[in-house]
Amino acid sequence: MVVPEGYEVEAIMVGLSFPTDVAVADDGTVFVSEGGSSWPTRPYMPARVIALHPNGEVEAITMNVHAGPRGITWHNGELYMIFKGGYHMQLAKYNLETGKLTILIDKVPSGGWHEPGGPIFGPDGLMYFGHGSVSQQGVSLPAGFTVDLAKHPLAHDVPGQDITLTGNNVWSRDPRKPYPYLTLTGPFKPFGTRSEKGEVIKGQLWCNSAVWRCRPDGTDVELLAWGIRNPFGMAINEQGELYVSDNDFEEKGERAVALDPDRIWHIKNASKPFGSVTTPDWYGFPDICGDGLPVNHEKHLPLKGKATELFIQDPPPWAGPAAFLEQPHSCMCRMDFSRSDFFGHRGELFVAEWGTLAPLNSPREEDLDHGFRVIRVNVKEGTSELFMHNRIMGPASAHGGGGIERPVSCRFSSDGKSLYVLDFGVAHITEGSMFGFAHTGVLWKITKKEMSHG
């Protein structure tokens, strides 16, 4: 494994099962969430948070939830968690001393493909969180191995503003039926429900593909942005600016999009005073790619799958361009800003890249090794540099030997001097399947070496 000169890497925990996030308390306790039913949905492994205390003791915070925790953060003596599972995302806080779990928010429509983002806290003391789209490609369609349609047949995307539909629908087979004949589905509808030209879908506070903020107790929720396909990674810099990661469309299936870059968005509404955002910004989903071109632009025509048509008539203004564009299917995940001169690169954004699902979601040879690394991004310049990667790009298991597989999160210690990198573990991908292997996740710690003055 390669990190820049002057840094050292050590493994802290090995054998994690589908870990999703890492958080660090003020006293140095390190928390790792294990996602339960995650990516893919089977096998379910116990959803829990593992706490490693500074004295070396380890405890497991267990919970009886079907999917599990996707994001965790420590704030004012309590552990905040965001859960996926069922028709609603849940945001909760947990008190380590009393063992009490309090659900703060249980209204965001979920039950589909994409993930909750956050929670994180800004210097303003407010809590920021997000949730990706239910649909993978802008319309609820069969997605095979995650059996979304069997669990949540009524799940669908919800817009953050009133929108008018073009009336374009998508044909697909209905795998739920004994005779899997073709059926039509429209955007912002449950699977098998068609849309009409000129139909208006009302915008909701509790939408998805969106980012919100609220008080730490979950009240006074304010919608900042929507149209973000998968805002899984969220980070706020020392200036209080909010950035979110977002993953590109897939080049497969009934509404396929090619060569859509992964991206990091600057959520500009987060810099406005709390409570003053009257209109959320729209970042393009389901009709605009990360580069600002419509999904049906000739540059984005697919080699695999059926080409797209636009869903929204007279869309809202686009809030782009992105602060940073990355190679398609890099799968940028959770991230954190460096706040330490000692660690270095202060003000730069460290981003975990889970890595591609090609050849499942892309037919292109060049996509096979995208991701599988940690990069540092200059969000003002829109540039990046490698920070942690294998000697041969791609997951370690593809080439044998040790190294990193699929970095899913990175978080600085509370003093900012160390960077924790959480590796999800081994996921085996083919053109038609995806299998995740439990007990293969690793928590790494990267520390700047002390200078010798002897």
């Binding site: 925990m13 090995v14 096998p43 070396g56 380890v58 299998f435 439990a438 007990h439």
Partner: protein, 185 residues
């Protein structure tokens, strides 16, 4: 989870004691895989003999060759985790297959079906049962991070899934001939 030695990474459920406990539980399940697959193969062998229609006989003969191969693969799963296959469970599976045949005759008598149709219906259920057992073994392999289990189960489940569709189809196709017209096939 143990208190770590200095600078040693913490093993999460990878220590020898926990690992052996998990493998013991997998071994118990693999005996179930053996049992259900032997039961299916026995019932399939007996059903092939009862069917005269050449196309249906050919479909089932092909399925039987796969079933024999799947039975060997069920035994190979034990070797992956360093254990020995169970001879008792294989024998029990043979008996269970015969029992399903008898049960099919009883249902056929009560439901007015004629010929081997009810055996097909029982085969359909028996294949689903053994396919589920392999699928669970696959999930246990994923849960313990053992890719060699997946290497064995994946093709078995693919073939049994196709068999599931075929058995469903021919059972539904032939039910009218058996129940309405009281004819063998």
């Amino acid at each position: 989870m143990d208190k770590p030695a200095l600078k040693q990474p913490i093993l999460i459920e990878l220590d020898a004691e926990c690992r052996q406990d998990h493998l013991d539980k997998v071994e118990a399940w693999l005996k179930n895989v053996q049992l259900t697959q032997a039961s299916f193969r026995q019932l399939l062998e007996d059903t092939v003999d009862k069917i005269e229609e050449p196309h249906l006989k050919d479909y089932l003969n092909t399925m039987l060759q796969q079933a024999l191969d799947h039975e060997e693969k069920a035994e190979a799963l034990f070797l992956v985790i360093g254990r020995e296959p169970s001879t008792v469970r294989k024998l029990a599976g043979d008996l269970l297959g015969k029992g399903r045949e008898l049960w099919a005759d009883i249902i056929a008598l009560g439901g007015g079906a004629h010929g081997p149709w009810q055996d097909l219906q029982q085969l359909y259920i028996s294949n689903l049962n053994s396919m589920s057992a392999f699928a669970v073994a696959e999930q246990l392999g994923l849960a313990l991070g053992i890719p060699e289990i997946l290497n064995i189960t994946l093709s078995v489940i693919d073939e049994k899934s196709t068999s599931h569709l075929l058995l469903q189809e021919i059972a539904l196709e032939m039910c009218s001939k058996s129940i309405l017209y009281q004819q063998p096939f």
